[in-house]
Symmetry: C2
Amino acid sequence: MEHYDLIVIGAGPGGYIAAERAGHAGKKVLLIEKDNLGGVCTNWGCIPTKSLLNSSKLYKKALHSEAYGVTAEKVSFSLKKAMAHKQDTIETLRKGIAFLMKSNKVDVIFAEAQVTSPKTVQADGKEFSFDNLFVASGSTAFVPPIPGADLPHVLTNEGILQIEKLPENLVVIGGGVIGVEFASFFSAVGVKVSVVEMMDEIIPLMDGDFSKALRKSLSKVDFHLKAKVTKIDASSVYFEKDGAETALPADTVLMAVGRRPLTLGLETIGVDVAPQGIRVDEQMRTNLPGIFAIGDVNGKSLLAHSASRMGEVAVNTILGQPDRMRYGAVPWAVYTDPEAAGCGLTEAQAQEQGYKVQSASVPMRANGRFLAELGKKEPGMCKVVVDEESGLLLGVHLLGVYSSEIIHSAAGMLEMELRVQDIKEIIFPHPSVSEIIKDALWAL
Amino acid sequence: MEHYDLIVIGAGPGGYIAAERAGHAGKKVLLIEKDNLGGVCTNWGCIPTKSLLNSSKLYKKALHSEAYGVTAEKVSFSLKKAMAHKQDTIETLRKGIAFLMKSNKVDVIFAEAQVTSPKTVQADGKEFSFDNLFVASGSTAFVPPIPGADLPHVLTNEGILQIEKLPENLVVIGGGVIGVEFASFFSAVGVKVSVVEMMDEIIPLMDGDFSKALRKSLSKVDFHLKAKVTKIDASSVYFEKDGAETALPADTVLMAVGRRPLTLGLETIGVDVAPQGIRVDEQMRTNLPGIFAIGDVNGKSLLAHSASRMGEVAVNTILGQPDRMRYGAVPWAVYTDPEAAGCGLTEAQAQEQGYKVQSASVPMRANGRFLAELGKKEPGMCKVVVDEESGLLLGVHLLGVYSSEIIHSAAGMLEMELRVQDIKEIIFPHPSVSEIIKDALWAL
């Protein structure tokens, strides 16, 4: 039985980063992946959706740039070509991860892994022992028991990334990040899209002002809030709202109501597994010595970059270097058109937590670069949330172009616990949309 | 004679920000501007060039997005429409500044200002006295005494922003930021562009690896380095290189060899004026009590955002709040296609300053978002410069899409004096090009 210092199950952004770091530190590492390197993020999530959303943004620009001096005729969108580029991007990234594993001397097995005891894992017909095990097995789309949910035209994120022609009528069940990103893409390329959401607003992690503004910005998408899907058949999705039933025509349905951790039956060997995922401490340790759970599988923060950071924390822990997973400065971004992003507390969260909240919102159309590139009508804004007593920054919220590339600075500011005065002394480049953060702080 | 707490000469990004902040703090402020609100930045610099560069980037995308699924026919570029949008952007921003002045109770006079004594200013036929004077009169394009430099087709930044049809052959004299940005714009929309630069590389403020990479990326532009322009006539620009003379055909010439401070003859009232600008201390004070010089006119850092920060420092100083202008974390960005940006020390500067330098460069094509949006062939890279002894970050350098929106975080990191280990613990959103900074730090 071959022995490894570390076995990692799952080659997503939690698992492969952990394997890379541990391999780099000289550990003997085995990475076991049942599908492709990169996990959901690279193959069925972050990367393919961003590739498609970029294509739809290019389509919109080719259609609507006359005001900027650029005209074109017969602008057309090819799903086939967009999908081919998406696939090429995925394959290039997979190769990159394979190269990283090789250069950090990580052994890789493509097989289902089974944890056979608190000290052993089986895969590809062999058994391996370990000092440490990182369970980074991720999550899968949850399909609720709605009548008709098993029909062939009801797809999850994986299925919809493999379609060969555009739907005519797409109904998205679930107004979270995944559902809304696909709604943005498909509506931009001419598909009639409806989103049905049970809650009273889309994307619950967003500051309320922003989720509402984003919803209104996606003006081609038909949103149904506080609406409960009751049934799906071959041609329609039925939902109930305020006691009345409505049927939406649908040749394709995207099920995007949430995700469930893939806990690999670990409770059978004594791992403490809760419904939302494997229970872990701040170092990602489970209740069993040497077994860690990182990424979606612990249910703490279902984001690729959280998984990667958890992987680093777990590696540092087995290397004896003090580290701790912190959730207060995890940025998020939604790559819709317009983009949205945020980090830290929303205004409502800050109030709930008892802060004396000060906040300010400024529109992006007062920003020089935004105005130069998008004119006066496109949506965009920035809100900052501050603790009035200490002057500490608590949250930054963005809607508009470049939001996803700007928000990392807010993660840094929150992680470093900067006060408003500190940030006012940082020099932001002009003209950039990033200046909006400083402008919002001055508007307080 | 009306008295003001503060008189500001020049309504550029130094002057108008200072007037706004001082007005907001309750000071009685007069702002005197000889031309339009916003100064060179809004009217003849940052804003119009970014507006035009955005148009040329849209044109390129409309032409070359087939790989992403977007095709178009008869793609055409209209200088007239691009110029109209540029003008509209300028006018909107001017109105915004006028509104800011009004809401902060700043009086504005449109006239030439003359400083008649260390306590008085004349403008529009009236004389005003002041407690404090901020000279924010900016700079103007330097036109060297080259034979033919006064011909009508030899333009500076102001002239070239008013042309009504595209040149056929444009020669840009000077490979600094201004020259290279215009070269990027005009070459992208089909103009044959040559750049003649005396030094051995373009854009001296850039890390050497980056200026070279940027030059090579602008593959449609014909660069002539170590070349000295000797003469301009109606149809050509002549330069000497390695003893040989060459003539470049030119129906339009852009003179972009540098800028000169507009010091308003202040030496006559006793202000200490050096050739590069008015001498100031860290609080922007000149040698005369109550007289400050901010922005291009002091020659310290010819960037709009430096001017704004200088304005804030000067205002804080007259308000009795301790503050100090620091130049170590001033970001810069070049909005060419591809963009470039940087903050802090280049590798060469760090070595000159005696640091034990550690540096790492990573290509953007290893970045998920970059690959999804730009594919494998577009140029892009990030270099980090670190002090090996302390682990302190010394500089960040970027080439590629989004650089200008990413670099502000580096300004924050440098201002806060973060070490590599601190930055590694910041969570960057995935997928974003901004992650490249973290990847470069891990590559050290």
